[in-house]
């Protein structure tokens, strides 16, 4: 049985666009599924629907075998979720959060205490457990958020942009814990992110969403292999020579959209072409400011499928989605 099964899921807001526009996806038990997309693509709205907090406009979905539309309480009992922005009460301590959430899940007494201590230990918050959350760093809040999501031993875990705003060390620690949860405890993880390296490092499979639709889905390796060849990006020393540079590069491969000051192509014959490109530029008198040779990334996949770069496509759009979604 799939842990998450989604068919034709739609969410249409009253005065807004179709935030989610008929998506289909399947996540196997124990899998980490990376849901990748820019701000405003529909990631958080999808999570809100799958966690039963927002009714779908159309389509069906089951989570842990339960229908999200008709079996909300069963779904909520089977899932844990850390939604965007760790929402914690700054006046309560970490341990009091555990006690509150555990009590609402029906845990009590020694069982609640033992489970709370186990999780606080696991996320490295034992020493800070009796301090008010108002004094926690962003990383500590995220780790407490994760501990709270795991309190009732969920089978499916939803993490909505869990590392946004975290320093690299905290991000890495969270990745390790998420990977361990899947590997050792068999928890299914549905992870939304706008960080390519996060999806690349953690996810068994990735679905890329844009404008509410899944544009491509597969393992990170397969998606990158689909794009295949390496690319080269060159920035001329003199920006006025960009057009000439683009014309020369076009002889060696297909152009890729870039960010304005440089030209980029997907190499037709692979890295062996680089020497010939440098010679051609030299012959035309074009001085190179920077040359970058890149292996295919998930950003290239996104670029190939949407014509835009994932890393540059964020913006204020997400505010609209978030406001309407909550």
């Amino acid at each position: 049985m799939a842990a998450i099964e989604v068919r034709g899921l739609v969410r249409q807001f009253k005065k807004g666009p179709r935030a989610v526009d008929g998506i289909d996806l399947t996540v196997a038990e124990g899998e980490i599924y990376g849901f990748l997309g820019p701000n405003g693509a529909g990631k958080s709205t999808t999570v809100l629907m799958l966690t039963t907090l927002l009714p779908a406009t159309a389509g069906t979905a089951t989570v842990a075998g339960y229908n999200i539309a008709t079996q909300g309480p069963q779904v909520r009992a089977a899932i844990g979720a850390a939604l965007q922005e760790a929402a914690l009460d700054k006046f309560l301590t970490g341990r009091e959060h555990i006690k509150l959430q555990g009590s609402l899940h029906g845990l009590k007494g020694a069982d609640l205490k033992q489970r709370g201590n186990e999780l606080l230990e696991r996320v490295g918050l034992m020493e800070a457990a009796d301090r008010k959350v108002g004094g926690y760093s962003g990383g500590m809040k995220r780790r407490l958020d994760l501990a709270l999501a795991l309190l009732h031993r969920p089978r499916v875990l939803f993490l909505d942009e869990p590392t946004t705003g975290l320093d690299p060390q905290s991000r890495s620690a969270l990745w390790d814990e998420v990977a361990r949860l899947s590997r050792e405890d068999g928890v299914t993880v549905f992870l939304t992110t706008q960080y390519l390296e996060e999806a690349d490092a953690l996810a068994n499979r990735v679905g890329i969403i844009d404008h509410g639709q899944i544009v491509v889905e597969g393992t990170p390796a397969a998606l990158k292999a689909e794009i295949g060849r390496s690319s080269v990006e060159i920035e001329p020393h003199d920006p006025t020579q960009l057009a000439v540079l683009e014309r020369i590069l076009a002889r060696f491969g297909e152009p890729i959209a870039t960010r304005g000051t440089s030209a980029s192509i997907r190499l037709r014959e692979g890295v062996g072409d680089v020497a010939a490109i440098v010679r051609a530029l030299d012959a035309e008198g074009i001085a190179v400011h920077q040359l970058r040779l890149r292996e295919p990334t998930l950003d290239d996949v996104f670029l190939a499928k949407t014509g835009r770069s994932l890393e540059g496509s964020g913006g204020a759009g997400d505010d609209t989605e978030t406001d309407e979604a909550h």
Partner: protein, 259 residues
């Protein structure tokens, strides 16, 4: 599945009380302001004792009942503002992902309001004793005033909760506060109904439900066991509580869209 309703209510009440006690800026004005107003009005309006028809008690004793009403109004702000903060921060979404029932959310928040209301009332009684007040109905009357305070905390607290659930905005909830204070001043807080000299004011005070709440508490302090005053006061408090809880239930359905 999940916790029993009583366990959920206790957990949410416990959290509500803890977070309130950890916000001195929220709790101190709710205690200090009504007591300060009591001593100020008792000093400034003492001459009212000489009005023909004014009860045969000190103005301090007469004004003591008003503190309990002011405390109830603070309960409106407290319960509603806390919940609005939870909505704005996403904490309500966190709670919504648990098996928490909607009833537990409202009743748990009200539990916090009741605890705060009882604590406030104890402080007001202490201030009254320090100021030399005597309670005409004795210990039994004090118990009845506590019951009235609990009912008022439920009524005004649930109105605040309904406003928070409806609007999701702390500012909107606090907008109720001045409105209720206007109602308070258009009641019998300063003079008995019969002695209000301005006709329109007397009409407004007669129609104002707060008059009956003040008069019920006041009767226990200065008159003795006054059946009609108590009946009217408790009926008004009960009506506000029913309206408030129903309004909260309706607003909750709109707020919690979970399936």
């Amino acid at each position: 599945m999940g916790a029993a309703l009583s366990q959920q209510i206790f957990a949410i009440s416990d959290r509500s009380v803890r977070r309130t006690l950890r916000q001195p800026a929220a709790i101190i004005p709710a205690i200090v302001f009504p007591i300060m107003l009591l001593f100020v009005s008792a000093g400034g309006l003492q001459a009212a004792e000489n009005l023909p028809g004014f009860p045969e008690v000190s103005y301090f004793d007469f004004a003591l009942a008003v503190t309990f009403m002011q405390g109830a109004i603070f309960a409106t702000g407290g319960a509603g503002t806390d919940l609005a903060t939870d909505i704005e921060s996403g904490f309500l979404s966190r709670l919504s992902l648990t098996p928490m029932s909607g009833a537990a959310l409202v009743l748990g928040q009200l539990g916090g309001s009741i605890a705060l209301g009882i604590f406030q009332a104890t402080c007001y009684f202490a201030a009254g004793l320090i100021g030399g007040a005597t309670i005409a109905t004795g210990i039994a009357g004090v118990v009845v005033i506590y019951l009235l305070v609990i009912l008022m905390a439920i009524g005004f607290g649930s109105l605040g909760i309904a406003a928070a659930l409806r609007t999701g905005s702390g500012e909107a909830v606090q907008g109720l506060f001045p409105l209720l204070f206007v109602l308070l001043f258009l009641s019998t807080i300063n003079l008995p109904l019969d002695l209000i000299p301005i006709t329109w004011f007397r009409w407004v005070a007669t129609a104002n439900p707060i008059t009956y709440l003040v008069d019920a508490a006041r009767s226990l302090i200065i008159t003795g066991w006054d059946g009609p005053a108590l009946l009217a006061g408790f009926l008004v408090a009960l009506t506000i509580a029913i309206v408030g809880v129903l309004a909260s239930a309706v607003a909750l359905r709109g707020r919690l869209q979970r399936t």
